[in-house]
Amino acid sequence: MTIQFNDETFREDYSFKNSPWAIKRFPFPFDKDDYMYSVNMEPHRGGREGSVFQNRFDVDEHYVSEMRDRALVLDNDPLRCQSLPHMTLAGWDLLELIMVAKSEDYPDLFELHRDGNRWRWVNKPMGIDDTFTFLDEATLPYGPMEYITRQAQGDWAVLDQRDDNLWMDAGMITTQADWSLDFDIGMNFFEWHAPVPLAHEKGIFVRALKFLLNIQQGAPARRLNWTMTVNPLLDTSPENYHKWGIQKTTLTPENIGAKQHLRVELQTFYRLPRSNAMVFPIRCYLCAFQDLMTVPKWGRRLHRVIRDLPEELATYKGFIDNRPMMIDYLSQFDDGLPTSPGIWPDLDTEPQLQK
């Protein structure tokens, strides 16, 4: 399948938009009408054809524009990409993982030619054709992790594993839901999750860590997480909160359908072979409320989830002030009919809105 790449922005004029194809394959994160934290992990071994789960690293119509936005963020703030000295080998592991996956899953877009340690990498959408020596940093314009994650959508946390814990020792973080690599660098799993409410009491992080430490080569895992973002901003970082935080106050009943976006993270987890490190890709998908409402099942369900969400979670996810306006808007799309289980849109089987 050939992808038509959008020419769009995630800042200033916000020309980002989802095509009907992108809306239908949006990873809607709610499999039932209410939401509470859970470890909710499953094996990451493909998924429904055309869905964001099908390939190891999904490439979609936003690819080229997202990479342009990442380059802008890095120009302004190079500390969004950091790698502690012992993580270079993990960076090479990651470079190999992404190059192999992309060239196998999207052979019309990416090519990898290997002759021993002499590698040639062709990225057609971004117009890149580089030849380099594997494991020789001097032959690439950036370190291996930075080089490849400037060409791969989503954020990339590279975690060292030692002392029965995971350590945030490298990453490329430019499309984050309000957390900072520069703040978290060097922290362990419990330290960087300290601000999350309710989950600690439920023992979620102890169980999640145990699961993650045991993820093995050849058996990656995945889960979905979500939050809310006003305007299609990829860079909702603490560093730039003064720029985007205030935009949450620009929401009105008239513009909420277009401005308010559900932000979903497809989080995957891979064991890296040479370094025994873990990589934690966090891929961000944005969808405007008005686009989500074109799927009747999602309209019904999103209203119920947002209405019934515990207050701590709405506060932590940063939309407690706007929640009443969201519920007013979303209630127009909830006729009280039951919804089918699971996250899929079920457009052919779910009834149209009955009001």
Binding site: D160, P273, N276
Partner: protein, 320 residues
């Protein structure tokens, strides 16, 4: 499915190394490349010995970046339950077997300024792959290798020939002993210690390092336990509603699997924690042998690691 991903392989070389140790080389039956791994990783080898299926972990000793094959070295244990005897006596070149993807419970800490390795006997194997990784990536390392005598010091010759300034070999029969205290005393800041060998050696190195004030995080060890034979006993599996007899030469985990119950596992050597199982009821005595549970957990009667631990008594009911 429990355990790591599987790889179908063919045995392509069997090489006697000394009186007790034999090396096996595995290549993929489909001719494809083996997954890369990290130094210190092991694979779990499936052995179908008549009606019995054994799964034993062995450290990978080949170059982690050589994708043509994996090699392991197996020490024959004449007193054991038969896994090593099966490999030594019944496996031939050309046989097809199933092994697991690599799993590393003994990784290098790549922050270390220097890696100081202590090996005892067959405990040399994980260091062979770690040394190859260090040589590829330019890490600083030093090996102290103790064995009974030259005849049993597998790979000592090749190691000393290849790295004369890094490798120090000690023979028990010649009363040679690692001067551990002075050795640990002279290490540069940022050195990490790794020890693999018999339990007595592991305890000696860990305790000496602790007494000298080494941080716990800088001392790493690996000891795979083989499940030991023991008296037969009966176990009731509450969730699957089955009663299973555990035989003398069978581990509790193997008996559970034989009953068709898919129980989680990874290392099968009491180290990784994956097979941890809740005890619902018991009347008898546990024989705990794992390194995973804490002492108070062993004493509590509420948990057991079925890969290496056993039970003697009237009733044992597990949450499985």
């Amino acid at each position: 499915m429990s355990g790591a991903e599987k790889i179908a392989v063919r045995v392509t070389e069997i090489t006697p190394v000394n009186d007790l140790i034999t090396r096996f080389r595995f290549e993929r039956t489909d001719g494809g490349p083996m997954p890369m791994f990290s130094g210190g990783a092991h694979t779990v080898v499936e052995m179908k010995d008549g009606d019995v299926t054994r799964l034993n972990p062995y450290s990978l000793m080949s170059d982690p970046m050589d994708q043509s094959a994996y090699t392991i070295s197996v020490r024959r244990d004449d007193e054991g339950r038969g896994g090593s005897l099966f490999l030594h006596n019944k496996v031939a070149v050309g046989d097809e077997m199933v092994i697991s993807y690599p799993v590393n419970l003994f990784p290098l800490d790549l922050r270390a300024k220097k890696h100081l390795f202590f090996a005892g006997g067959i405990g040399i194997t994980p260091f062979l792959s770690q040394i190859k990784q260090m040589e590829r990536t330019g890490g600083k390392w030093e090996l102290h290798f103790a064995a009974r005598n030259p005849g049993l010091a597998a790979y000592a010759d090749t190691l000393t020939a290849q790295y004369p300034h890094h490798v120090h070999v000690y023979y028990d029969d010649d009363n040679q002993r690692i001067a551990l205290e002075s050795l640990l005393d002279g290490q540069p800041l940022g050195t990490h210690i790794y020890v693999c060998g018999p339990k007595g050696m592991i305890d000696w190195v860990r305790n000496t390092a602790a007494d000298l004030g080494w941080p716990r995080e800088a001392v790493h060890h690996e000891e795979f336990l083989a499940p030991k034979p023991g008296k037969p006993f009966e176990v009731k599996l509450a969730i699957s509603n089955k009663v299973v007899q555990v035989g003398e030469h069978e581990s509790l985990l193997e008996a559970i699997e034989r009953a068709g119950v898919d129980a989680p596992y990874l290392c099968r050597g009491g180290a990784c924690g994956q097979c941890e199982t809740d005890v619902i009821d018991y009347d008898g005595t546990f024989i705990h042998r794992d390194h995973w549970l804490e002492e108070d957990e062993h004493a509590s009667g509420k948990k057991i690691m079925p890969c290496v631990s056993r039970f003697e008594g009237k009733t044992l009911v597990l949450d499985r």
